[in-house]
Symmetry: C2
Subunit: 472 residues, 2 copies
C-alpha cells in the first residue's frame, strides 16, 4: 500500500488531497514560492497529527505544516512532499473572559479569534492585513508582528501555553494559562518562530486584553523622521503609553498608493516625505467618556499634542478621524501595502529592524548606495516605525541575480552596522536562508542546529527552512 493510501485509511480519503486538489495549496500568493505537494493531509485533531508524524518518522518522510499560507518567505513551500494543513483544527475551545485567555486550536483564523474576543468585550491584539486568512498556528510559527506590537508585543508575548506534536509523534503538553511558570526550560518560546521545524503546534493558550472603548486615529505629514520620534515620545508621555500603532508611509509608498489605488484617496493635497498613521486606544472612563461638549478626552489629548507640534513646525499637516468610517479609510491606505508590494515586477525584499533612532540614517544610506549600485532602481517602503521595523522592496533596473545579491549584501551590511536585524517579523522560511548564513552569529547558528538535531533527528519537520545547511 502506498503512503498516501495508508494516510487515506487513517484520515479518510476526503482528507488526503492529491493532484489538482493539492495544487491549490501549493500556489503561493507572493508568486515566488509555488510548489506541488505530493499530498495535502487535513487531520481533524491532535491524535491524527500524532499518527501522521509517527508514520512520517518511521518512513523518514518530510512534513511541511501549513496554516493560512499567507507567509512572505516561502515557509510552506512543499515541492513533492507532504503538506500538513491544520485548517480543520479550527475550534476555539474556550474563552475565559475573567482570566482573559482564549484556548484555541492551531487552525483558527486570526479574524475568527478577533470576533470571538470582541463578543466578550475583549481584543486579541495581533493585527495585520492578512488577518482574514492567517491562522493561530501560522502566527505562532512565524512569531508574527503587525501594527499593535508597539503596545502589546509580538505573538510570543501573547502566548501563555502550547500543545505541540513532536517529530516522533509524542504530544507535549505546555498548555499553561499562568502568567508565572518557572518549571524548567522555556521550551514554549523555542517553538514560537521556529516555522514548524521543531514540532507541529496544534493548540495554544493566547492572552486577551480589554477591548479599547475609544480610539483616536490620525494621518500626519511630519517634517522628518526625527520629528516623528519626538511625536511618538510626546504621545506616550501624555497618555501614559496608549499608542497602539505608529506606522510610517514615506513618499515612495504614498506615490504608489496614489497611482495604484486612487480609489483610496490621499490624505493631503501634496505628498510629503514622511506620512505617519497614529492610533491611540483607551479603556479607562477618564479617557473614553465624552465630556459635556461630546468631546472624547482621548481625542483631545491627541489634538493638544498635535496642535503644539503644528505650531512648532514639526507637523506639517494633520487629519484626525472623526468617525469609524474615517478611521477605516485611514487604515485602508496603510493596509494596501501588501497588495502594492506585489505584482509590479521583480523586487528584492527586506524586513529589517533597527534601533528607532537609526531608521532615518538607514534609509538615507540605503538610497545613496542604491543609486550608486543600480542608478534608476526604485523602492517601495512602509514600516512599523514604533518598532523600528521597515519593510523595503527594491525594484532593480534589470533581473540579475548577481545584482540582487549585491543589493542584499549592501542593505544588510548597513543594517548590521547600525545594530539592526535582517529579519524583524516575517521569519526566515526560504527567502532569508542566505541572510541567516551570512549574518547570524556562527555560534548561535551552531546551537540552533544542535537544537534542531535534538528535536528532529531525522530532519522530517519542514526540512530546508529556517536553518541554512552547515556544509555550504
Amino acid at each position: 500500500m502506498t503512503l498516501t493510501a495508508r494516510l487515506a485509511d487513517l484520515l479518510g480519503p476526503a482528507h488526503v488531497l492529491t493532484g489538482a486538489d493539492a495544487d491549490r495549496y501549493g500556489r503561493d500568493w507572493t508568486g515566488k514560492y509555488d510548489s506541488r505537494p505530493l499530498a495535502v493531509l487535513r487531520p481533524a485533531n491532535t491524535d491524527e497529527v500524532a499518527t501522521i508524524l509517527r508514520l512520517a518518522q518511521a518512513e523518514s518522510v518530510p512534513i511541511v505544516p501549513a496554516g493560512g499560507r499567507t507567509g512572505l518567505t516561502g515557509g510552506t513551500h512543499a515541492e513533492g512532499v507532504l503538506m500538513l494543513s491544520l485548517e480543520r483544527m479550527n475550534q476555539i475551545r474556550s474563552i475565559r473572559p475573567d482570566a482573559r485567555v482564549a484556548v484555541v486550536e492551531a487552525g483558527v483564523i486570526l479574524s475568527s479569534l478577533h470576533d470571538a474576543a470582541a463578543a466578550e468585550g475583549l481584543y486579541f491584539p495581533l493585527w495585520f492585513g492578512a488577518r482574514g486568512s492567517a491562522t493561530i498556528g501560522g502566527v505562532l510559527s512565524t512569531n508574527a508582528g503587525g501594527s499593535n506590537v508597539l503596545r502589546y508585543g509580538s505573538t510570543r508575548a501573547l502566548c501563555l501555553g502550547l500543545e505541540v506534536v513532536l517529530a516522533d509523534g509524542r504530544v507535549m503538553n505546555l498548555m499553561s494559562e499562568l502568567h508565572k511558570d518557572n518549571s524548567g526550560y522555556d521550551l514554549k518560546d523555542l517553538f514560537i518562530g521556529a516555522e514548524g521545524t521543531l514540532g507541529i503546534i496544534t493548540a495554544a493558550v493566547m492572552k486577551l486584553v480589554p477591548a479599547p472603548r475609544a480610539h483616536a486615529t490620525a494621518m500626519l505629514a511630519v517634517s522628518s523622521l526625527d520629528a516623528a520620534l519626538t511625536l511618538l515620545n510626546r504621545l506616550q508621555e501624555a497618555t501614559g503609553g496608549l499608542v497602539e500603532a505608529f506606522e510610517f508611509m514615506p513618499r515612495d509608498y504614498m506615490e504608489q498608493l496614489r497611482d495604484r489605488r486612487p480609489d483610496l484617496g490621499q490624505p493631503f493635497t501634496e505628498i510629503h516625505d514622511v506620512t505617519i498613521l497614529v492610533e491611540l486606544g483607551a479603556t479607562a472612563p477618564r479617557d473614553t467618556a465624552p465630556g459635556p461638549d461630546g468631546a472624547v478626552p482621548l481625542t483631545a489629548l491627541l489634538e493638544d499634542t498635535l496642535g503644539a507640534m503644528l505650531e512648532e513646525g514639526l507637523i506639517l499637516d494633520a487629519v484626525i478621524a472623526s468617525s469609524e468610517a474615517q478611521r477605516s479609510a485611514i487604515w485602508a491606505r496603510r493596509e494596501a501595502a501588501a497588495e502594492i508590494a506585489t505584482g509590479v515586477g521583480h523586487s528584492v525584499d527586506f524586513d529589517v529592524a533597527l534601533p528607532l533612532d537609526r531608521v532615518e540614517m538607514f534609509l538615507s544610506r540605503m538610497q545613496a548606495d542604491l543609486q550608486r549600485i543600480d542608478p534608476g532602481a526604485w523602492t517601495n517602503t512602509v514600516g512599523h516605525l514604533g518598532d523600528g521595523n521597515i519593510h523595503l522592496a527594491v525594484f532593480p533596473t534589470r533581473e540579475d541575480s548577481a545584482l540582487d545579491n549585491r543589493l542584499t549584501e549592501d542593505v544588510e551590511e548597513i543594517v548590521r552596522e547600525l545594530g539592526g536585524s535582517f529579519s524583524a517579523e516575517h521569519g526566515i522560511g526560504l527567502s532569508k536562508l542566505p541572510s541567516m548564513r551570512r549574518r547570524k552569529d556562527p555560534v548561535a547558528l551552531d546551537m540552533m542546529r544542535a537544537v534542531k538535531a535534538a528535536f528532529d533527528p531525522k530532519n522530517i519537520l519542514n526540512p530546508g527552512k529556517t536553518l541554512p545547511d552547515a556544509t555550504s
Copy 2:
C-alpha cells in the same frame, strides 16, 4: 600543576579563593543549602569566563555559576566543585535613555541598575526584597519575578539580548537591542530561567521604562479574596492598567508580622483575613500633575474606587499613603516577608502559581488538608495576588521527612487540579527537583534533557540542578 594552581595562573591568585575565603560563598542565607566549594573563581571579563570553561570542559570539571546568592532553591550549592562568581563583572556598560535600554554585565547588582536608571528618569521594573544583593545574571538565570510583574512582566519580558559563554568556552553573541528580531530560534529565552545549566550569562541588554512620576499606595482590609479581585479589576479599568503591585498578606502573615516585627506597626487595629497592598504608578501629566487643590489625580482615582467599595462593604478599612515616608512604611510590612519566613524552625516551602480566580479555593483546600494530615501545623503565607503567585511556608508539628513529603504531594496535587504550577518565580535549583520529576509533563522533561545534552554534553554546567535524573 593542580587545577586551582592553573586557574590562579590564569586569573591571578587573588581571584581563586579557597579555604575560609571560599567558605563564605558556600554559606546559604536560607540555612538549607550550605556547601564548601573546592574554589571560588572570580573572572574579570567574558574572555576569562571563556578560558575557565574551556579548561573545565577539557578536564570535565563541574562549574556552578553564582551571582548575589540570594536564591531560595539551592541553585548555587557547590559542594566540592568550582564556583564561578560573576561579582567582578559589575559594569553598567551603557544606558541609552532614548532607546530605553541598559547594557549590563552579569554581576551588576539589581539596586545599582535601579540607581543608574533613576539618574536618567527611568526605572528598571524588577523589584523584590533582595535587590541590594541579587545580580542581573542571577535574576536572568532564575527568571525572577517580584512585585511589579503584574505590570511589567518577569525578567524574561525585560531582556532584549544576552551574551552567553557556552560549556565549551565559545561566546554566543545575542546582544540585540531590538524589540523585533525573528532571526531564527529563540535561544535567548532558553538561557533565561535555566539556572546556569545551559551556559553562563555574562552580559545582557535590559529594557528600561519611564519612571513613574507619581505613586498612589494603600494598605487595605478586604472582605474576601473575591472582593480583592473585584478591586483589582476595577482599578485596572479606572486607570487603564496602572496597577504596579497588588500584594496579598493574609491573617497568618499579619500575625507573624505583629509578633516578630512589632516595630513595623500594624495598619489596622485588628487583623483581618485579607490585607492587600496596592500601588498605582503613573507617568502622564493628566495623572501626576496636582490640581488647584494640590490633589494628585492618580490618588483621587484610587480614593474614588476605594470609597465606592467601602460603601458596598467589600473593603473594610483602608490607609492611603500621603507621603513617601508613609509609602516606605507600608512597603516595609510587605518586605519583611523574607526575614519572617526564615529562622522559625523547620518548614516545607512552596512557590506556586494559580489562575487568579482559584487562589481562594487553593488556600481553603490546603488549610483543610493540612489540619487533617498534621493537626496543629501552621502556615505563613504571602503572595503576589495580581499574578496568582502564592508563597506558602508550612510548619509541621514535627521534623519528619515522610510527613514533609506527604504535605508536598498534597499541596502540589491541589495546585495541579486547579491548573496551577508548582514553581512560579523562585526556580527549581535543588529544592524543586522532586516536584519536577513528579509534576512536569514527561515529554517536556525528556525534551529538556535533550536540550541539556545538546548544550552541555559533558554535564559540567551546574550539574544536578533544574533537571531531575532520568534514571530515578
